[in-house]
């Protein structure tokens, strides 16, 4: 504070908080940074659970077949689990690869093409995966019974 000066500077909004830099781009990168941390914690639980049930319990990877998937997805809990895992992992992974492309692809055109491919892959995989979880039929009528979960024939 400069004391003793008579001149009083005119300030537009004296009580508005200090803004370092005005930007028109919003807080996208901040929200992406927060999302990576929040989704990371949830994914740790979801994926460790997924790996434990599919690779550690029983015969592990050898027990996985169509009937195994049928048994899991007949339970709404696993449908929600896998849906959440699909969406969070795809957004988390896509955002991570987006960051890496931004870091290493120095040419504008290279960045544009790589990110275009990335977002295309994201859309295809998320839409396909979501449809599969919701339209899955554990007991398709024309399939051999020995390939299906036991509850199909019961």
């Amino acid at each position: 504070m400069a004391h003793g000066t008579a001149a009083v500077a005119k300030v537009d909004s004296p009580r508005s908080p200090y803004v370092r830099r005005k930007t028109t781009r919003g807080n996208y990168e901040l929200y992406s940074w927060i999302f990576m941390r929040a989704s990371g914690v949830v994914l740790l639980v979801l994926i460790f659970g997924h790996l434990f049930v599919n690779l550690m319990v029983g015969e592990g990877v050898h027990a996985i077949d169509f009937a195994f998937v049928g048994g899991k997805w007949s339970n709404p809990m696993w449908q929600v689990w896998d849906l959440l895992m699909l969406w969070l992992a795809m957004i988390h992974g896509t955002n991570g690869v987006r960051t890496i492309i931004n870091d290493y692809a120095t040419r504008d055109m290279t960045r544009l093409v790589l990110k275009g491919l990335l977002y295309l892959a994201f859309t295809v995989v998320v839409v396909l995966g979501t449809l599969v979880i919701f339209t899955f039929d554990a007991c398709p009528p024309d399939a051999p019974a020995e390939l299906l979960a036991s509850f199909c024939t019961a």
Binding site: R37, F66, T106, L128, G129, P140
Partner: protein, 127 residues
């Protein structure tokens, strides 16, 4: 014309190398995820198509690949928690090196729990 991308070498040591490993494992997991959703989508084609695809995951070579994938996931998960602590815990930056060794320790313990069981499933005459 730029000859090398910026930031190929930062400061070395624990901080940089854990960051490099986090990126490498992240990209690896992401590409597996793309493939994994596509192979799982085969359940909508037919039981036979899905079983044929998942059958290739049950071979010894893919079994080793799965071990590598799980290793990548376990490191990425534990190091992710370390990043969280560096960002949100007041003493996080001070202990970032120590925490990397904690990550390494937890990694060894987790893999010691997973590997014998998985390798027995893969090589121990399943099917």
């Amino acid at each position: 014309m730029p000859t090398a991308p910026a930031g190929t070498l930062y400061r070395g040591r624990e901080g940089m190398w854990s960051w490099v490993a986090h990126r490498v494992t992240g990209v690896l997991i992401f590409f597996f995820l793309l493939v994994h959703v596509l192979d799982t989508a085969l359940v909508r084609v037919s039981p036979e198509a899905y079983n044929a695809a998942i059958g290739t995951y049950q071979t010894p070579i893919m079994g080793l690949g799965e071990a590598g994938l799980v290793a990548a996931i376990v490191f990425h998960a534990f190091n992710g928690i370390r990043i969280l602590l560096v960002d949100f815990w007041a003493k996080g930056p001070k202990y970032q090196k120590v925490m990397l060794w904690v990550v390494a320790g937890l990694f060894v313990v987790t893999m010691a729990g997973f590997l014998p069981r998985h390798l027995m499933n893969v090589f121990g005459g399943g099917h």
